[in-house]
Point group: C2
């Protein structure tokens, strides 16, 4: 395995330049956004909060923007990428666990029994997460995720998952940073999973990634050297009400702008809106089956419910129509 | 109470300039450090890790320095300041809790019964922390701490607690930042307590303060507005083995340099040293009874045990003698 990891790292290194063009300073901000009310509202917010002569001016220390990841920055359909990683990882580890051939939920994963996997319970998934996300040092987990991302590809687009990021959102991240905003990721996904690629793909450093976190355990290796192991227990779940709680834990400050795409982001947007002064709340609506996907409440991932849409209308949250508002969806789009 | 808070805020605002001189760029770095091996070792580490032509050069993204707070950046003797705050707060809340007059541990605190308070158990202290650190919004707690810090004074020095910070360590924080290091506080004390003053006093922003954290609870107020309440349960304890665990949770990266003063910092220093390349591990030794305090293992707070001193010698950690290495201790020293 180590030599495989080393080899795939070389591949990973060659991908480092991929996002480069999108992360640099933009001659024209938000170039992949179509002109219209959504783009205008974003730019108006940034101008009003960064122009010193504006009554809505926000000091640089208070310019905090938080972004959901799955479905907001990269594709989450038809499965969360971290779920695909976990299943692939079970298959990769299976030779070391002969007992899995006859033990659920591992047997179904190894057999690619999709009907059985569809019916996995919370407890089944917890067992899979524990086996795939713990029992190694934090550095080893980072290497495992990096290797997987460098090789695995999505079935529909035949692309690496880190290529399936939304070009307009990459531009929005850059545009906010160019205007003095600190950009954070606030994901229901695993914090250490997203940290493995957030800097390279989104320009977001490791300490700006907030996610569902497992406990870690400080210990010593066989040579008496200090090390930090990933433990199988969850410390906190960074989803729904857990998002404002996670933001307070790591940032300690109310965001000025928050970006999401599903019911799991509602509380983050509500909390952002609870502060004084100008705020921006935005939801990405997946309504573009041709270029990406169209889904609302009829999905197992990232549900955008009718009730969320009603909230958005009532509270004045921006709703991005991918179909209408985005000139390009992916960096590789023409 | 709100008007009192408002008033003390004005006082607090007038203190904002206090640390100013110490936080700006330094014409002479580490001016309050006496020349000698300790100062030379610190400067040698910084030069070696920031000079591009050095074989020990460290890229800016990896320049992470972590500082303990109690006894490393400010006075912890004879009591942790947060403990004094908690007892003062019980006294301030007592009129709203007539039952405390006859209920321990509150009765002893209200009666200033120091003999009884000396014998408080872990469970007693947990009750006091729960009453003083929860049941309000995160913003309200920040206001309470800010107000208290603006008025309370230390018995020996007759100074506000935020004045009892070590001038050489303020200079060290600035010196590291001027050389591209990100400086974090990693404290066994309450994260939200330290956040209330870290930016003003140390130049460390709220998202760079890692500490013992209580759970929070997202909810809605009577008007349906989102709010975040401090809950009475502990999420994690950021001390001893909890320090590397807290660093991984919030920063996600191994520090290059770590600074402490007690047995509670040992694991942070060990973990810092476990990485490749040049590292700096430093412990402040309180050996100056005249200007501050002299204490080792014979203390209820911040113990520097014989075993820690042996570790420092064996591992090559720097030990700062306050008496020998520091020209000045406090910003107000002549």
């Amino acid at each position: 395995m180590p030599s495989t990891i080393r080899r795939t790292f070389v591949v990973a290194a060659s991908l480092f330049t991929l996002g480069g063009a999108s992360l640099g300073a933009q001659a024209t901000p938000l170039a992949s956004w179509n002109d219209g009310p959504t783009k205008q509202a974003i730019m108006s917010f940034v101008r009003a909060t960064t122009d010193r002569s504006s009554p809505q001016y926000v000091a640089p220390d208070d310019r905090i923007a938080t972004f959901d990841n799955d479905g907001t920055l990269w594709v989450e359909h038809p499965f969360y990428t971290e779920g695909v990683f976990s299943f692939d990882r079970i298959a990769a580890l299976a030779p070391q666990h002969p007992e899995w051939k006859t033990t659920e939920p591992f047997k179904s994963v190894i057999d690619h029994d999709e009907a059985a996997m569809e019916k996995f319970t919370e407890s089944d998934l917890e067992k899979i997460v524990a086996e795939t996300h713990s029992g190694m040092t934090v550095e080893a987990f980072n290497d495992v995720v990096s290797s997987w991302l460098a090789t695995a590809t999505d079935k529909r687009f035949k692309r690496h998952y880190t290529e399936l990021v939304y070009q307009p959102m990459l531009e929005l991240l850059s545009y906010l940073r160019e205007n003095g905003y600190q950009t954070y990721i606030v994901t229901g996904g695993g914090q250490d999973f997203v940290r493995a690629f957030a800097s390279r793909v989104y320009g977001v450093p490791r300490d700006h990634v907030i996610g569902t976190a497992g406990k870690t355990k400080f210990t010593y290796d066989a040579h008496g050297m200090a090390q930090l192991l990933k433990a199988p227990e969850i410390l906190y779940i960074d989803d729904k009400a857990g998002k404002p709680e996670g933001i307070h834990l790591v940032i300690g400050q109310l965001p000025r702008a928050a970006f999401g795409n599903s019911d799991g982001d509602k509380q983050m947007l509500q909390w952002t809106q609870s502060g004084n002064g100008r705020r921006l709340m935005l939801l990405v609506h997946h309504d573009d089956a041709r270029r990406e996907y169209a889904y609302d409440a009829d999905t197992k991932v990232g549900t955008f419910s009718d009730s969320l849409m009603a909230d958005a209308t009532k509270q004045g949250w921006l709703v991005v129509s991918m179909k209408r508002d985005w000139r390009r969806v992916f960096p590789f789009d023409p």
